[in-house]
Symmetry: C2
Subunit: 339 residues, 2 copies
């Protein structure tokens, strides 16, 4: 490509758009479904029910310890499919680029998306590029949508959550939010905190495989914006149960806990990008926990509480000193543009 920076003409739909697509996107995402560069990718048939999801990513800064907006855009959509019980297959990728963005920086992010997709075993098969004038964006926003296939008989549904079920969290909380925040604000901590951004579908597949179609895994969700507290509230409301959380059982890195105390954040509300909450029938909980612990992304997994019958629709946090207090959904805004 001759240009070093993105110009409005890269969004014209003409020659410059085509060169950008051919020399950047198609080259990095290289796969036979994308290669014809038609306005749609054609594949299948796919047997089984399908899951379909979308997310736009507006995180700032674009790069932060442990990940960048591109890796995030792939992992986030892969995870949204996986927590629905689907095996992620195909992604779309759509870029809204601000005029003036360095093409070198864009290439780095696109390359990271390609690498993440390859490692995850998903293909980016269709896409779109738009350019907006200076001051009408923030260098780069990415949308990914994804399609996955669900095995027959599998039913993940929070309405199936029952008192007695165990609540499992796949690892430490708050890492992503603190990593983005410290990078954004230039805060230096003693220990660098990295985003937990990761594609969790392989771990989830092992969990589902082990419990088979008995469906002892009732529901799963990734704890992104709004944090673990928001996911738990949604589960409690959908199932008309109460979730009791033991504060001391919730995995958190000392460095993240310290940063939260310093900055005044409650880590239960902070976004994660590589953590799921799973509600599992009591009998299989230990087995599922072990499977998670044996996976690279679930090493710090823990049972953090149990499902109770009341107060209906509420989360109760039992603090380290034994007090109990209700945990509400996030009501304001803790950290904008975290994903």
């Amino acid at each position: 490509m001759d240009a070093k920076k993105i110009e409005l003409s890269h969004g014209s739909g003409g020659l410059k758009t085509r060169r950008l697509i051919e020399e950047l996107f198609a080259r990095e995402f290289d796969n036979p479904l994308l290669a014809p560069l038609n306005d749609q990718a054609i594949f299948g048939p796919l047997s089984g029910r399908l899951a379909f999801t979308t997310d736009s990513y507006v995180v700032t800064p674009l790069c932060f310890p442990g990940a960048n907006i591109g890796k995030l855009a792939v992992c986030g959509t892969v995870n949204d499919l996986a927590v629905g019980g689907a095996r992620p297959k195909y992604l779309s990728a759509s870029f809204i680029i601000e005029e003036g963005m360095e093409i070198g920086e864009l290439r780095g992010i696109v390359r990271s998306m390609a690498k993440t997709a390859q490692e995850a075993g998903v293909e980016i098969v269709t896409g779109d590029t738009k350019v907006v004038e200076r001051g009408k964006g923030d260098r780069l926003y990415i949308n990914t949508a994804g399609i996955g296939v669900i095995d027959e008989g599998l039913e993940l549904d929070p309405t199936r959550i029952k008192p007695g079920d165990a609540i499992i969290l796949s690892g430490t909380i708050g890492d992503h939010a603190i990593a983005v925040l410290t990078e954004r604000e230039g805060i230096e901590l003693e220990t660098e905190i990295k985003s937990d951004c990761a594609a969790l579908h392989k771990m989830i597949a092992k969990m589902l495989e082990a419990t088979g179609k008995g469906n002892e895994i009732k529901a799963m969700r990734d704890a992104t914006r709004g944090g673990v507290a928001t996911v738990l509230t949604e589960f409690a409301e959908a199932s008309k149960t109460s979730l009791l959380i033991l504060e001391e059982a919730v995995p958190i890195k000392e460095s993240v806990r310290g940063a939260c105390e310093l900055l005044g954040f409650d880590p239960l509300y902070l976004a994660n990008e590589g953590k799921i909450v799973a509600i599992v029938g009591k009998e299989r909980a230990e087995e599922v926990l072990q499977i998670m612990k044996n996976d690279q992304y679930g090493r710090d997994a823990a049972i953090i509480g149990s499902v109770e019958s009341d107060p209906v629709g509420k989360i109760i946090l039992e603090t380290t000193i034994g007090n109990r207090r209700p945990l509400e959904m996030l009501s304001g805004e803790q950290l904008p543009r975290i994903c």
Copy 2:
């Protein structure tokens, strides 16, 4: 909703996000697949090959004669599926909203999307909402992705284009671009020009049905950014043929022609949002043309030229006075943010 304007907290993932989703998006898009408000929609199985497409819409202004960004986001993605031979089924919708946008205006646009989707017979089944700070967006960007199903045996592929085939254009060109431009710049024309924004899948289905699996329709594409000239170039290059276009056969409204002369645009490069170019085997061309003319969105359809064998990969325009000149792909930028 209590708030009148979008605040950063509407993108927090917490309570305010949920209220916005429940009271605006879920209410307007109302359908059983969206209703659980999970991070993914689950449906199917779908039999047949699938088409998958995505587009982000950044048009400015948000509303213009004949359509708005919401209607555009539905029609554009429906058309991208349909020109691949797919019956559009499910859409995702993802919103990047600038802080301070009037919720009333957003509701109007969302309602327009819902109405367009309903008329088109597609369902918006999953979505996402992000909010960016003032000055980091332009009120609203929308991404839609779509899934459609392709009938067995159907093969639309520009490599199947052969000399002798007819080139059919479904109606007048330039309407969308001129409608957006005149609204954006406050230009008053004698006759108001409306965007041609429309979902064309029903007309396309009739065209495909009539020609059956003989596949006498070789390829179709909607002539959006880059205009008819860009689509034709892509066809010529993919099929290693030459396309001869008769300028006087190209349908164009007098008012659009006048505006183009006034403003210095070549209408063959202007974006349309309700027009397709179809390459059809000579024997069936008249029949396909009649089917198009009988549809509300194809009334002005015309055979605008024919496929020749050389110069390979080139478009030749025969002007009204009989001169022939090559037509290149759009090399610069005519009109930014037209879709």
